[in-house]
């Protein structure tokens, strides 16, 4: 068995995950095993969608040609690989969907966000896949900022203060689309680093400079690619607007609704938006605006001192 830390959890796994951080502990929060999964979920409170069924405590997803995943009670993931499936794909969909289900089941919020350290906390960059989260964090890293988390940050109340919302990192791997390498000037990844065969997205590990301590959130930037202008722009968001933007950026919001977590989310996100400024950065989709966006971010960070 392999022992890891990931998403704030102590994980014991039957299969190896190079993505997670190796760890030592006695009692696991989450067990990942291989085995047969149920054919279907039953129960009045189960929502059935396309190859996925969701109840408040169980999640069953059948990823075509990859694996079937059964997730229960925030403590267990069972994997039934499909014939011919490759290990990278099996891990990728576990790290995205099944892990999101675990986090929702455990009453935490997986937010679609990357983050860097700033002052005594972190600054989050939210947005859908392709919005530029990982690219921005990679560019900031090249300028000396330290990466906190990529793609997903877990939100939860601080242990000693339920009104303070802190962020927990996911795991020490960045995921970059092929064009991000040229945009940020870093060396192109190798063929082995593809997240799955034939997908133009690559892994970049940073286990050596990774820390797992939860951090307070100092500021949030929402990234979108809807700008009709040829350059990037920034605007501070009103609290209602930032509330709904954060809710939309909940990773797998379909799960949030199906698991009946809306009230819980409302509570956490309200506390966050009440305490933290949220800015929207809009950029045109097909123009390289990395330097402009970095300048906008740096001139709008909470000032030191």
């Amino acid at each position: 068995m392999f022992k890891y830390w990931g998403f704030g959890l102590q994980i014991i796994s039957e299969i190896e995950f190079p993505e997670f951080l190796p760890a030592e502990f006695e009692k696991p929060d989450l067990t990942i095993s291989m085995g047969n999964v149920p054919e279907t979920l039953t129960g009045d409170d189960t929502i059935h969608k396309v190859r996925v069924s969701i109840s408040p405590t169980e999640y069953l997803q059948k990823v075509i040609n990859v694996a079937h995943y059964y997730v229960a009670n925030g403590t267990e993931i069972r994997i039934e690989p499909q014939p011919g499936a490759d290990e990278k794909s099996i891990r990728l969909f576990l790290l995205s969907n099944a892990m999101a289900a675990i986090l929702h089941q455990r009453n935490t919020i997986p937010l679609h966000a990357s983050a860097v350290y700033h002052q005594d906390g972190v600054v989050l960059f939210c947005g859908h896949s392709g919005a530029g989260k990982s690219t921005i964090v990679t560019a900031l890293q090249a300028k000396g900022y330290k990466v906190f988390s990529d793609d997903v940050c877990v939100l939860k109340p601080a242990e000693d203060n339920e009104n303070l919302i802190v962020s927990v990192p996911s795991y020490p791997m960045m995921k970059l689309w092929v064009d991000s390498f040229a945009k940020t000037g870093i060396t192109m990844a190798g063929e082995d680093d593809r997240l799955r065969p034939n997908l133009a997205k690559y892994a970049r590990f940073y286990h050596d400079e990774y820390e797992i301590i939860p951090r307070p959130i100092k500021q949030v930037f929402m990234l979108d690619t809807n700008s009709l202008e040829q350059q990037a722009g920034i605007k501070k968001m009103a609290s209602i607007e930032s509330f709904s933007a954060l809710q939309r950026n909940t990773y797998r919001h379909v799960q949030m609704n199906a698991m009946k977590k809306r009230d819980f989310h409302f509570n956490i996100v309200s506390k966050l938006t009440a305490a933290v400024p949220v800015y929207r950065i809009s950029r045109p989709q097909h123009v390289n605006t990395v330097n402009e966006v970095i300048a906008l971010i740096e001139s709008n960070l909470p000032s030191n001192g």
């Binding site: 009045d44 409170d45 189960t46 929502i47 059935h48 969608k49 396309v50 190859r51 996925v52 969701i54 997803q61 990823v63 075509i64 040609n65 990728l92 969909f93 995205s96 969907n97 859908h128 896949s129 392709g130 689309w177 092929v178 064009d179 192109m188 997240l195 799955r196 034939n198 997908l199 133009a200 997205k201 009709l228 797998r252 379909v254 799960q255 045109p284 989709q285 097909h286």
Partner: protein
Amino acid sequence: MDSIATTVDQKKIIWLASYPKSGNTWFRAFLTALLGNGDLNINQMKTDGIFSSRGIFDDATDMDSTYLLDSEVKLLMPEVFTHVVSQYEKDRLFVKIHDAYILNEAGIPIVPAEPTLCALYFIRNPLDVVGSFANHNAGTIDDSIQLMNKPKGTLAKQKRPIGELNVNNQFAQIMLSWSGHAESWTTDMPFPVMVLRYEDMLHDQLNTFSKAVAFMGIDKTPEEIEKALFESRFEKLKEQEKEKGFMEKNRSSESFFRSGKSGGWVNELTPEQIKLIVDNHKTVMEKYNYPIPDLAVKQ
């Protein structure tokens, strides 16, 4: 009891199918006005999205589809739209589609027959599509011709030097060639398909739109249809776009609604360009009564 039915209890989807720039959006504007008693905001159409929508797919599957290969997406498409109809109370869903009617890797049509009520197929003289399509893509006439002649022409495909990105809000849409597209949607179909010529929509308006409304089983009077036609007239669509913009416009293109006329190709295309279209699409052009220009006459 399950909270959401997984089987199709009713055929609900009406596919609004076409090669791009063939009257599809105009028809959706008309439908919006027709179903909304004359109200029309081009940025709030009352139709139900596009087949290639990543949002619809991700919502139905709980997948982050940017991790899926396009072939995997196409395998799931029939299930996605079969599921979608179970999510709606209303009895008709109008879904726009530019994909050709093709099979996925499992040999199953990507467009499912099970939840389908019928389809409207909009066709326009390819000689006029060329210029409009070039404007839409902010590309050249020759680029458009090349795509229309390509046996496996694809829309919204993201090409990069190494591999393909997969982050657009629409999936890649395999359209085949212009002729291939038309033939795919009109040959041996498992559901009723009515073909609407753009030219008839322009020049025999009330009759053509009335036939389409009746085909879809929508009960409206000629007066109501006329009112909807007036509210969705081309000049008004163009004016709304000028005033408020149009979110379906390609970002690099100047405007979505261009001339809306037929026969403009005479002043747009060179004899070589005309020949390239006619040589590739003569059979389907003749089938839908598009006159084949006498290239010896035009210089």
